[in-house]
Amino acid sequence: MSETRQERKPEEFTGREYEAGFVTDIETDTLPPGLNEDVIRHISAKKEEPEWLLNWRLEAFRHWQTMQEPHWAHVNYPPIDYQAISYYSAPKSQKDGPKSLDEVDPKLLETYAKLGIPLREQEFLAGVAVDAVFDSVSVATTFKGKLKDAGVIFCPISEAVREYPELVQQYLGTVVPTGDNFYAALNSAVFTDGSFVYIPKGVRCPMELSTYFRINALNTGQFERTLIIADEGSYVSYLEGCTAPQRDENQLHAAVVELVALDDARIKYSTVQNWYPGDENGVGGIYNFVTKRADCRGARSRVSWTQVETGSAITWKYPSCILRGDDSVGEFYSVALTKMRQEADTGTKMIHIGKNTRSTIVSKGISAGFGQQSYRGLVRIGKSAEGARNYTQCDSLLIGENCGAHTFPYVEVKNPTATMEHEATTSKIGEDQLFYCQSRGISEEDAVNMIVNGFCKDVFNELPMEFAVEANRLMEVSLEGAVG
């Protein structure tokens, strides 16, 4: 081993440039920047929405205007000018209404290919139906037929509003109300698209549902709205993955995801988030302010959130579970990586209301370079939550002397029969571990990768197979140049 090789420090390996940074040139139908009631009416009209939804949006907007932008998160970013954002952007080609993949703009397909998401091949190989969201309008939905046979509804939410208005009206905004928080209110007012999933009673969704998000048009905030309803005794696994082209303008992304699980239903929601994190000086990058919440309404229902967060300049999200039904289960598995100037304030909330409800939280944070990362979690065990149980583990791994890792776990217990355990550790990659690996002839970079991999394993194990592979690769790629 050469002298220089030996002297390299782990932090040298975190400087890898963003791989998925390219802009696809597609004409977009974009509204001028600014937000007022006319913009909302315009969005609603474009989407041919019914009256009730327009009123719902307007109500949210009026409420939003009375709200204060929150600043309690442990992150720093310049003030956002909400009037400088364009609230609607749809790829032009959407107007032709592609019915199948063949009709999809070849440039879009090319973009996916560059990202290693061969849409067409997935149809055959992976057995995954992909509802690809390019900016704000869904352009391709596959495997519709097969899902239809099973009775599963999987479509863009704008389509669901037209086709299944009673379902949407019944559930929309019942998990995350319009006035829930600043960004949820904004989303409710201006959301342009997203996915809608309904799994009927007793149906096990025959395949994993997947949406790939991309933010593309310059200066366009992306406001996705996802609603998943798992009726009694059903099961669904939903994958969400994101990458974005490289660009200097900060982009706001304020999505809302609502999950409803009825009696004995199970929802598994997995996310790989790899949006543009900004350059090494903290210029550019996505602001990811997301509200994700699951309502375990039914008895014995079960929701599990798994997330791998490596992108975005600022991440601010807390996928949560309201454990209302007796014996319901909530799970949260997370790996978050912050490097360069990235900041993340993420965690979960587990609200125990029903009897014998259980929740598990495993959070792994890796901070490198100048990255700042916070775990913020709430475990609330209400008075009615007889026999509730929670286990929380949050570990942080620090790489380099300029990064930070913070933990803010809130624990509120109002029932003596509850059992709650919380553990957290923070440390750097052990010099002795590195030395051991290197003495066995493993290069420093590989050794660091191995250690990080081992650190994340508990979470990666929860990911569906294809995603686990992708996540592993993502970690390696992200840490290259940052570590060993």
């Binding site: 309690w72 059992t419 923070t426 440390s427």
Partner: protein, 416 residues
């Protein structure tokens, strides 16, 4: 009163008038509602009561041999005090009269200090008495120093300053006691400064009367290789809040914070601690336990901040809570804020009731369920008290703590 002291008092008073009492909208006061103080003591709750002229009935801490300073409602009572020779220990009131310049530093109000609130400002503005203790370099008192604060209701603002020279050693006991049935507020601030190599063991025993509110603040700043050990015990009062701030400012300093809450009825006990690792090679240990019965409410917030450059920090924190009644509640938040990678930090929290397996084990050995429960409760709390080296204090606290839990009958038999 000297000019600068007067300015300080005025500034603090202004700050207090601006700030008022913190509300539950304040993140640091989210779980503790101080409006109760106003309800109990009225709009003029801050108005100090009495002059300490009336001596309050003494309490005995059996077996404790110590130098003592006794305070009546916040005022020094020299007649019942006994001070060691050779070290400077005076009351704040007399120091204010003789050398007011010396007091300015001690009473200073820093609005930006962590966890400082309107109560701290009120203390700076209104504290009339307290203890000023100065132990010179390489000195060790032959006996502990016992600060007994007797209260009989009404409001008292106290300020205590403790300064240890290089390699000095001190064991200090702050004991807040009341047996009256009046409403009252104790607002105490204790500032401790440890020079290089100094060692301080601090017992803080809160056994106020049932309708007394208690607000405490302990601020410790530590130089190289100094060590500080806190044993906080919260048994009395209806609403008690204590902020403990420990700053490890120089290499090799260490601190150990321990706390035990035993609450019943409608008691509300809240401890916020903050340990700042500002220098390399410092270590901290923290362990808090609470036993909550009746409709009581326990709050614990432990924050550990590791500054950039504080390499080889070693920190561990633990908080365990035992809920004995369906109406008891606990809110706990162990926080870590870390800005350097070469550190080792861990924390853990548990909340629950008595372990069913342990209960079953004892029952299978022929011990009645009630007795088994008592045994396990005592064992849980005693694990915290076992860290106390002063046997007399430990015994005193054990008796006072377990007497609160009505089901415990044969206490003497259980104590080792």
């Amino acid at each position: 009163m000297s000019g600068s002291l007067q300015t300080l008092r005025q500034q603090a008073w202004q700050a207090f008038e601006e700030k008022g009492l913190p509300t539950t909208r304040d993140e640091d006061w989210k779980y503790t509602d101080l409006s109760r103080i106003q309800t109990l003591l009225g709009e003029q709750w801050w108005q100090p009561a009495g002059t300490g002229a009336v001596a309050i009935d003494m309490v005995e801490l059996p077996g404790l041999d110590a130098w003592r300073m006794v305070f009546n409602n916040g005022y020094f009572d020299p007649a019942r005090s006994e001070l060691p020779p050779g070290v400077t220990i005076t009351s704040l009131a007399s120091l204010m009269q003789d050398e007011p310049a010396k007091v300015v530093d001690l009473l200073a109000y820093q609005p930006d200090a962590p966890l400082s609130s309107g109560l701290t400002a009120a203390n700076s503005a209104l504290a009339a008495d307290g203890a000023c203790i100065c132990i010179p370099a390489n000195t060790r008192l032959d006996q502990p120093l016992y600060l007994l604060h007797l209260n009989s209701g009404g409001t008292a603002h106290l300020r205590t300053g403790i300064e240890l020279g290089p390699h000095a050693e001190l064991e200090v006991i702050e004991h807040f006691h009341g047996q009256h049935s009046e409403a009252g507020l104790t607002n105490s601030v204790t500032a401790i400064r440890l020079a290089a190599g100094a060692r301080c063991t601090h017992y803080r025993l809160q056994l106020e009367a049932a309708k007394q509110c208690h607000s405490g603040r302990v601020e410790v700043s530590q130089k190289a290789d100094s060590s500080y050990q806190l044993h906080a015990v919260e048994l009395g009062g209806m609403l008690s809040r204590c902020d403990v701030i420990s700053r490890l400012d120089e290499r090799g300093a260490s601190c150990e914070l321990g706390g035990l809450f035993v609450a019943t009825g409608r008691q509300h006990i809240d401890h916020h601690t903050r340990i700042e690792h500002n220098a390399p090679y410092c270590s901290s240990r923290e362990s808090y336990r609470s036993v909550l019965d009746g409709r009581s409410h326990g709050v614990f917030n432990g924050k550990i901040v590791v500054a950039k450059g504080a390499i080889k920090t070693d920190s561990a924190q633990n908080n365990a809570n035992l809920l004995l009644s369906p109406d008891a509640a606990v809110d706990t938040k162990p926080e870590l804020e870390i800005y350097h990678d070469d550190v080792k930090c861990a924390h853990g929290v548990t909340v629950g009731q008595l372990d069913k397996n342990q209960l079953f084990y004892l029952k299978s050995r022929g011990i009645a369920e009630e007795e088994a429960k008592q045994l396990l409760t005592v064992a849980f709390a005693d694990e915290q008290l076992a860290r106390m080296n002063n046997h007399s204090i430990r015994r005193f606290i054990e008796r006072a703590a377990f007497a609160k839990l009505p089901s415990i009958t044969d206490l003497e038999g259980m104590l080792v």
